[in-house]
């Protein structure tokens, strides 16, 4: 007796369906990938983190309008300039020399080829900083635990593109993915302080950032810069609010880890002078 191919097909489909209904509840526990809300997480699993670094680098490439060393240009692997800029660093003439990875042309092919390449070190400006955002968005989607993506993206949206609400939303997304991140909390505090002019909220967030920093043993050991940044900002906030003793306390805390404690001492002295002037002002007034 010869079985019809259609009957065999129906039989196979039925077996497949039955197996699928049986296996599916177990299969869903094998991996968290299918449960993810993130399409990249579902497609690539943990492999997506490899792409995240590349996309973050692309943001830096765009920030330099294409003037960027390749893997063959042996340049020291330092901090990316978009990260440095988000920490308030601007290029000095020494930095400019360091970033001239091309050097002098090595031969006529190299010399002539440079007429077609980008050979000038520039940074995006006048609102064109928006062009780095797609890469930061992709980097955040690929690796939600890469904290720099949120802080850098938020910094550029807030300071260069005048979009504090989008910046806040991006930081909040980062905070949902990294609830213990003191870096994101610090950036959120800057947003409230500098963009929203809300010192009360900024103070709360920075104090929380400091608490999170103190609870992270790795940060306490290696990331003293973060502690200095948070305490200096808190000190400046208190000085602006006229809370002199608190401001001095924060500056003194920052002094313990600062590479330049004398500069902070000068600020402390300035506050003390102002305090003294205020104390003496009523007695010095003429009758």
């Amino acid at each position: 007796m010869k079985a019809s191919p259609y009957l065999v097909l129906v039989l196979v489909l039925t077996v497949c369906f039955t197996l699928a209904t049986g296996i599916e509840p177990r299969a869903s526990t094998w991996s968290d990938r299918a449960k993810s809300n993130n399409v990249f997480s579902m497609l690539f699993g943990d492999g997506r983190r490899l792409f995240a670094n590349q996309f973050f680098t692309m943001a830096d490439v765009y920030f330099h309008s294409g003037y960027y060393p390749s893997v063959f240009d042996l340049r020291e692997e330092g901090q990316k300039e978009i990260v440095a800029e988000s920490h308030g660093h601007t290029d000095s003439p020494e930095d400019e020399i360091k970033e001239d990875f091309l050097g002098k042309p090595k031969d006529w092919i190299d010399r002539f080829g440079r007429h077609f390449r980008i050979t000038k070190h520039t940074h995006l400006e006048h609102g064109n900083e928006r062009e780095i955002l797609p890469w930061l968005r992709l980097a955040a989607d690929m690796d939600p635990q890469k904290i720099e993506t949120y802080t850098v993206g938020s910094f550029f949206m807030r300071t260069h593109l005048n979009r504090p609400r989008e910046a806040e939303a991006f930081l909040r997304e980062g905070l949902r993915n990294n609830p213990d991140s003191y870096e994101i909390l610090f950036e959120l505090g800057r947003l409230y302080d500098e963009s929203d002019r809300d010192p009360g909220r900024a103070r709360d967030v920075w104090q929380l950032a400091l608490y999170r920093w103190s609870k992270d043993p790795e940060a306490v050991k290696d990331d003293k810069l973060a502690f200095e940044e948070i305490t200096v900002h808190l000190a400046q906030l208190e000085r602006g609010a006229g809370n002199w003793p608190q401001a001095i306390n924060w500056f003194q805390a920052a002094q313990k880890v600062s590479p330049d404690p004398n500069a902070l001492q000068q600020r402390i002295d300035e506050i003390k002078k102002t305090m003294a002037a205020q104390t003496n002002a009523p007695s010095a007034a003429p009758y």
């Binding site: 765009y62 309008s65 294409g66 390749s70 063959f72 240009d73 042996l74 090595k106 031969d107 092919i109 190299d110 002539f112 080829g113 007429h115 077609f116 390449r117 980008i118 609102g127 928006r130 062009e131 955002l133 797609p134 890469w135 968005r137 949206m157 593109l161 979009r163 989008e166 991006f170």
Partner: protein, 259 residues
């Protein structure tokens, strides 16, 4: 010259009868439009990533069209034995090679033109800016680069009988030159002898196709390259194209046509 044009005309007709170009164009258009529709932080002015993606696809598509179209020309004529009546007519082997080259180059140029018109429409509609001269330089230099690639593929098709192997080898060679060619001198500096000499020899021998890649200048709005540099680069491409065509002719003139 009429013979060469007639041969070239047949190649051009072949390009628009085959599906390669249409498939690649539709794929490029779909990916570019999809990328352009993505909303990043509610900012409609972000455009450079779309330009970047679109130009990358144009470069890959143009290379594929050029190499695949060229690599199958001579093997297909030999396979179908149409080369015998063709060469029985007053057509020399040199004319045959030139006709095939010209046909492939013009066909690729037409494809390139369509791709760039699409690119200009997509990016222009988004940033309201039409730097035509920059586009003209980019397309011209890319086309000049493709002349070298086509001549190289034609030369490869004389050596290798199978179009697939010619296509693969040429694509690897061209991609290698584009990605690594310009850095071989830097790599050579850090090698010991005899590797250093080998790297330098390769560096000075290969055609530097990476010069013709103006994508970064278009994407980042760096403006025009000096026209004199464009002319010199064109002459450089013409020299390498001539060299590869000569090598093709030298290999083809005494080659047995029986498969």
């Amino acid at each position: 010259m009429n013979t060469i044009w007639a041969l070239a005309g047949v190649v051009i007709k072949e390009l628009y009868r085959r599906k390669d170009f249409y498939v690649l164009f539709v794929l490029t258009a779909l990916i570019t439009i999809a990328a352009g529709m993505v909303n990043f932080f509610h900012d409609p002015k972000i455009v450079r990533y779309v330009k970047d993606i679109c130009l990358l696809l144009i470069w890959v598509s143009a290379l594929l069209i050029a190499i695949i179209t060229t690599a199958r020309q001579i093997p297909a004529e030999r396979e179908s034995r149409t080369i015998f009546p063709l060469l029985a007519k007053p057509v020399t082997r040199w004319q045959f090679i030139l006709g095939k080259f010209l046909g492939c180059w013009l066909a690729t140029g037409m494809a390139l033109l369509v791709f760039y018109v699409f690119f200009a429409i997509i990016t222009g509609s988004r940033e309201q800016n039409w730097p035509w001269l920059t586009y003209l330089q980019a397309i011209w230099l890319q086309w000049a680069m493709l002349a070298v690639v086509i001549a190289l593929s034609l030369c490869g098709s004389i050596i290798s009988a199978a179009p697939s192997s010619t296509t693969t080898i040429c694509f690897i060679a061209v991609a290698g030159i584009l990605l690594v060619g310009g850095h071989l001198n830097t790599v050579a500096l850090h090698q010991s002898q005899p590797l250093q000499t080998i790297f330098y020899t390769i560096y000075f021998l290969i055609p530097h196709l990476e010069w013709f890649d103006l994508r970064d200048r278009v994407v980042y709005d760096w403006g025009l390259v000096d026209w004199l540099d464009c002319v010199l680069a064109t002459l450089y491409a013409a020299a390498y194209t001539g060299l590869f065509l000569l090598l093709t002719w030298l290999g083809f003139r005494r080659k047995s046509l029986n498969t």
